[in-house]
Symmetry: C2
Subunit: 474 residues, 2 copies
């Protein structure tokens, strides 16, 4: 740690300085009980070339503008999704993929519908207020407006204690992000249960609708949609998420008076429909039948532009293909660049990809996903054996100059997750997480909120990691 | 490094896990030829308390809204600067400082004036275009419009080669940020010479005005002002910076045709005037006559709101005072919270502070500045002896859970720089640098571009570092 601090590897213009320090590092590591992969000046030089290519000539930001502004959001089953799939295949063919194709999969076909209205009325105050909310993905419409008194509870514990008061009410869960977590994904992970199962937990006691505090940590009032699921044995009541300021408002009002909410939603499922994973391939020179997969998901929610979630991962994936071709890089393994279908409300794209790999007996060495936003990169997380992780960790000095601070256990991605059953090592890009849940699943997840350099730094670090895996195996 | 990765110290809910790993770290470090400071579970616990206080109850973001929206930008010598100084003193008194006062200093009093117009005319095309530009700080007005053909050069080298063509022209320097640098401050450092001395370098050969490409790296067209200086022995010609898109436009046009620019600026200096550093103090319990200084600069340029530069550093400084008081922390050394005057165009505030310290024979142990934006924190840089740096580096495991990846040599701040001559150890907060030069010195440096959590994470890490210095000395 003392030897390999940022200072030592920062001054890339003085490569002899760097490598004298890297030698010290290797010496130190040799004394530790870990398997250390060979590293060479050649690696640092090639990664610097990759970095220069992406930072100076990178096209990820332009591609993202194209995807978000010319196509927009891309919910599974929507016409935009199909347009985006054709766009992705065409662009990757133009970049010089050895081949590119569409892989069919059947996806859920949920539609929000047009009518969403949320009105709060403070009893005895002749005061009405529109609430900024979004129906949750997969939730079913209210039919005519559901009008009922609100039972506002802190969390599931309070719901259970007050279960006798639930019948005929709209339950509001006030549970929100714990701001003490430095990693915002941890707060998201804790609160996910309210979005996922809050409706059925309340329906069990006779609730007629549910509202949650949006799963976000920002200071604005954008509502955050996202997947929910019903327990099929219980009534399927409408469910929506409130913007954070309106969540505060509703909670405060219920501390002082009875509140009646009128809730109109119109979600429904059409029959499952066909979408496609988009796959492009660079054929390996040495192990053509062993695969490395890089990907993100092409679908998004039906609000905003799906710019950070996950347009960023899509265009980073495409940029790696472009940069490899531009530099004339010939991989040893076959590399697949995959734009996955249906991450948001079904995961059918990722399942299909792994199923077909298994059916064909393909060997998948490594898979890397970017689905945590196009923010400044901070690390990669891995699902791997301790020996594999030790080998990977030894690469840190090569990535540190480009902003990677950690290579650690724990990570992957929803789309590549099913590959784990084939023994594939999984990895996920970990960008800085502070801003992600300001925009995630909102009308505010738009191109303008993605910074070009942060996006491109993510792409170049992904490219560098793929290069190292391709060169040294796992 | 392998032992102290992010994973090991991440799970703060399991403190025995952390500390078993910290012991391994200490064991490893003991084998290295560095002086390692003692660390204890007590430190981790107190820093967690600091973090919780700042992340949950922090007021830096609210203070920044107040400063930027109720006062606005705060150029040295402006009425807003004086208003901000009173505001800062009052707020820190309310927070419970043992004392707070204003320290007088004489500052330059440059005014932009009202008229700034930049028009490009493409010769022979009957085509005119307004250019988005800002006169550089300290530059003098053109009087009536300066109308002249443009000599567009890549850099000073080309200027020297073409010096015979300069007479009577407006020189445009196209030199811009080298996007290959991961740390954007490096690109800024390289290009600073064009803003600082581009006017006099061109005036030497008879130029009548200069334009530079703004010192920024973004994708927008905001012009970036900032300090320039004239060589007093040469004509003082007007100088301005173009927005990056208009810089591209002007450069491209000059590749195809002659371009005439009409340039009107109206900068002037009024006589020097009095501004004040704002100083609040918590008196030390053990070493009351030895000082630790935390600060940022209260002045800003006269565009935007000075939100990142350096409202962020100001409110982080104030937040540390608030959090220390809130937790009942009694420092061993006296801690000064300083809102410096006149960083942008004179550094008189920092000079005054050090001069008075010297005159009074004060001992200043340590000074920490935040003046690189309110973005997610990544590290601290230090100006210290190797022994002091080794001691500091041993604290990394305590800061890593809060986003600090590096404690490295090289750093400080413009305002605290003059303290170095008193033997003071200097440090600067190093936030992620990707977005800083999108907004720096522009109309776009506004409150809305500062993220609450990123700002507060910076404050809590600064507080934690101050706590460690206060506890263990240097």
């Amino acid at each position: 740690m003392v030897i390999t601090d940022g200072q030592s590897v920062k001054n890339l213009t003085n490569s002899s300085f760097i490598f004298s320090h890297m030698k010290k590092l290797l010496f130190l590591l040799a004394a530790l009980p870990f398997c250390v992969a060979a590293q060479s000046e050649e690696d640092a030089v090639f990664i610097r070339k990759l970095a220069d290519e992406v930072l100076v000539n990178g096209k990820a930001h332009d591609l993202l503008r194209d995807l978000t502004k010319n196509i927009g959001h891309r919910l599974s089953g929507s016409p935009q999704y199909n347009k985006a799939a054709v766009w992705g295949k065409t662009e990757m063919e133009k970049m010089g993929a050895d081949k590119a194709w569409l892989q069919e999969c059947l996806v859920p076909n949920w539609k929000r519908g047009k009518d969403e209205v949320f009105i709060a009325e403070m009893d005895g105050r002749k005061q009405k207020r529109m609430l900024n909310a979004l129906a949750l993905g997969n939730s079913l419409g209210s039919g005519k407006p559901v009008v009922a008194k609100v039972l506002a509870v802190e969390d599931f514990n309070e719901l259970e204690k007050r279960k006798d008061e639930v019948k005929g009410k709209i339950v509001y869960y006030n549970a929100g992000f714990d701001q003490r977590h430095v990693q915002t994904f941890r707060a998201y992970g804790e609160m996910g249960q309210y979005r996922r199962s809050g409706a059925s937990r309340a329906a069990k006691y006779g609730a007629v609708g549910t509202l949650i505090r949006s799963l976000g940590g920002g200071t604005d009032n954008f509502a955050h949609t996202g997947s929910m699921a019903y327990n099929d044995s219980l009534p399927k009541i409408p469910a929506a998420a409130l913007g954070l300021r309106d969540a505060d408002f509703l909670w405060d009002m219920t501390r002082h008076t009875d509140v009646t909410v009128s809730l109109t939603t119109s979600g429904k499922f059409n029959p499952d429909t066909i979408n496609h994973n988009v796959i492009a391939e660079l054929r390996g020179s040495q192990f053509p039948d062993t695969y490395i997969t890089i990907g993100g998901h092409l679908d998004s929610w039906d609000v905003g532009e799906g710019a950070h979630d996950d347009g960023a991962g899509i265009v980073q994936t495409m940029e790696i293909l472009r940069a490899f071709k531009q530099l004339g890089y010939k991989p040893r393994y076959s590399i697949r660049f995959v734009l996955f279908a249906n991450e948001e409300n079904g995961l059918r794209g990722g399942q299909k990809y792994a199923e077909e790999a298994k059916a064909k007996g393909e060997k998948h060495l490594f898979a890397l996903e970017s689905d945590a936003g196009g923010f400044t990169p901070r690390g990669f997380g891995f699902t791997a054996s301790p020996e594999q992780l030790a080998k990977i960790k030894a690469w840190l000095p090569l990535l540190k100059p480009y902003g990677i601070g950690d290579l650690e256990a724990g990570g992957g991605g929803a789309d590549i997750g099913p590959l784990r059953s084939l023994g594939t090592v999984l990895a996920g890009l970990q960008p800085d997480s502070q801003r992600y849940f300001d925009v995630h699943h909102t009308h505010n997840d738009v191109f303008e909120n993605v910074n070009k350099r942060e996006l491109h730094l993510g792409a170049l670090n992904m490219a560098a990691l793929i290069y190292l895996v391709d060169k040294y195996g796992l």
